[in-house]
Subunit: 204 residues, 2 copies
């Protein structure tokens, strides 16, 4: 790979990508100004960010939507199908299992696990919920690249250990507690209460 894309840019590229995906076929081309307006950014920022993507702007004209979309997707490592294990079949897990954006981006939720026997066997988006004790053996044959924790906070650490043992490459943790994993595994913690609390400061 070439030089790494700055973190701040990596956070914004998916937002640009989403905007590009919303552009209909009547919008063959967009300018940095258009992208900026739609994503609450500045046009210079957009151009600077896009300079890290093998991209395709035409001076005086703008960017060809479809080409730029592909270039960003490639830079983010999308376009490959990723095997995802979802742990937790409660309301949040159910929401995640049915989210149409995932298959569209190449994230394939292959299995859903839960600890509660009343949920095991339930069918979620075409998948039968399995008992979490099966995760490890399932992962042997076909490893999961991403593990998603959608359990109550109390179970999160145990599940994280299990995912580490199952050799996932990355963890997305919605449980609202920080989990500890070896440094080679990327973790993103998304916590609803944290988002509210950040908002609270700016409400003051």
């Amino acid at each position: 790979m070439t030089s790494p894309i700055p973190k701040a840019t990596v956070r914004r590229l998916p937002i640009y990508l989403r905007f590009l995906e919303e552009c209909g076929p009547n919008t063959p081309t967009v300018g940095s100004e258009d992208i900026a307006r739609a994503t609450h950014g500045s046009a210079v920022q957009v151009r600077k960010d896009l300079s890290h993507v093998r991209c395709s702007g035409v001076r005086g004209v703008g960017y060809e939507v479809d080409e730029l979309r592909q270039a960003i997707a490639k830079a983010l490592g999308l376009g490959v199908t990723r095997r995802v294990a979802l742990i937790g079949a409660g309301n949040l897990g159910t929401a995640l299992a049915g989210y149409p954006g995932f298959p569209a981006s190449g994230f394939r939720i292959c299995s859903v696990y839960d600890k509660n026997p009343r949920r095991v066997g339930m069918v979620l988006n075409g998948m039968a919920v399995r008992h979490v004790s099966r995760l490890l053996q399932d992962a042997v044959g076909e490893p999961y690249e991403i593990g998603v924790i959608a359990t109550p906070a109390a179970a999160a650490r145990e599940v994280a250990d299990l995912l580490v043992e199952a050799r996932v490459g990355a963890i997305l943790n919605f449980a609202g507690v920080t989990v500890q994993v070896p440094p080679e595994i990327t973790v993103r913690n998304v916590d609803l209460a944290t988002e509210f609390r950040i908002l609270s400061y700016y409400l003051t």
Copy 2:
């Protein structure tokens, strides 16, 4: 208020707070090193962040957990009860309505709205789901401080306009599309697909 807290610090303070809340009564005091370890940060960073909070460290000892917890909560403007309107009673909305962390942080989901007549009348966490057409009149008497969008992407913009009209102070948007609102309203967009896509880059 005193000088504003840097954005990067505001994002981290809730994470420290969560750690402090997890400390049992057997942990009366913590060091910056402890906080750093638990939150994947550095001790210097923690101390620098805490210097923006009217705080209470004792050299050679550390921070009194309970005192620090209160100081951070105060700095973030927590400790006041905030009226929240939740729009969207699907799986995600249901998960949000039942999330125990919200009342614990002073966020009171006062009403849940949905457009789908089949969901209107359903009881969620003790609240009857109302038709979204009632939102505006409800907000007249008792304004909502925060509006949470948990609808499908297609409905998000319409709902955002409604929330602006209802004069909310801030919007938390889980719909996965960027919404446009006047600059005086703070918006946080939390998008599940975006989180996956960021993760994807670091998996490469």
